[in-house]
């Protein structure tokens, strides 16, 4: 599945994705079940001071998404509506609709008060300062 995202235009990935989609159709139609992958896909980085997470959630505005941080757990929740209105017929549906929830366990504890989240053009970026005890600290090497 990681390969799926790194090399998406590879023809073998197309086949794999079609198979995922074919099997996905037989699973109970939960939220965002456009396959068997977790949604949304998340990238996480760190430096000495903080953890950074990024997720792509196109079609969600600020009111549609919730970010929660408790200890070392990050929860992303949101929803996306289908087209409303009368007389709408779908010919093809590849984008998921409905609610999604994803819980990530972070490698270190973070300070929930200092967490910031920004949503722009469908990309959610979350900055989480590490808890004091988890920060990198320079240790002076003393000559003996």
């Amino acid at each position: 599945m990681l390969l799926n995202r790194l090399f998406p235009s590879d023809p073998f990935n197309e086949l794999r994705r079609e198979m995922d989609r074919a099997f996905g159709a037989f699973l109970p139609r939960g939220a965002w079940s456009c396959g068997v992958e977790a949604f949304p896909a998340v990238n996480v980085w760190e430096d000495g001071e903080a953890l950074f997470a990024e997720a792509e959630i196109p079609g969600c505005s600020m009111n549609d998404v919730e970010v929660e941080v408790v200890g070392n757990q990050l929860t992303l929740k949101g929803r996306r509506e289908a087209l409303q209105g009368e007389g709408v017929t779908y010919h093809r549906q590849e984008r998921g609709i409905g609610e999604f929830t994803r819980v990530l366990t972070l490698p270190v504890e973070v300070q929930s008060e200092g967490v910031e989240a920004v949503l722009k053009d469908g990309v959610l970026t979350i900055t989480m300062p590490k808890a004091e005890k988890a920060r990198a600290r320079k240790i002076l090497v003393k000559a003996d």
């Binding site: 990238n43 996480v44 430096d47 990024e54 590849e94 053009d121």
Partner: protein, 134 residues
């Protein structure tokens, strides 16, 4: 030949030519296609695309959407921990029949979703043809 040996042989111009030759990864965006009344609607997921970097071409019945996406490092010198997706340009083509009026295609880009409205061509009105007594 190692890279440095090639660089030395070709000079710095070749180096930039090599980096220019490397293409950004290209992704196929997911699409929803729906019909509502007199128009076809295409909704494409293009998160991270720049609104002014989206190219929509309609030529000979084929609609092609290309979007440029700039790499977006949050900060320099971060260590990656988890990498579930890549960031790159988007491209996808659709063959649209000629029942679409190309002149009136409208596009809107919001929250990373590109919505294309393709109005159907007005049907040719039927005409009564008078028979002249010639």
């Amino acid at each position: 030949m190692t890279t440095t040996a090639m660089e030395r042989a070709n000079g710095t111009k070749a180096q930039s030519a090599m980096t220019r030759g490397q293409r950004a990864p290209r992704f196929v965006p997911r699409v929803d296609i729906a019909e509502r009344g007199d128009e076809l609607l295409l909704m494409l997921d293009l998160p991270g695309a720049q609104p002014d970097g989206v190219d929509i071409d309609f030529e000979r019945g084929t609609l092609t959407i290309r979007a440029r996406v700039q790499p977006r490092p949050i900060r320099p010198n971060l260590t990656p921990l988890y990498c579930e997706y890549g960031v790159g340009d988007y491209e996808r083509s659709f063959v649209i029949g000629d029942e679409v009026d190309a002149e009136r295609i409208a596009a809107e880009f919001r929250d990373g979703v590109l919505t294309l409205r393709l109005p159907k061509r007005e049907q040719l009105k039927s005409r009564k043809i008078a028979v002249r007594n010639g």
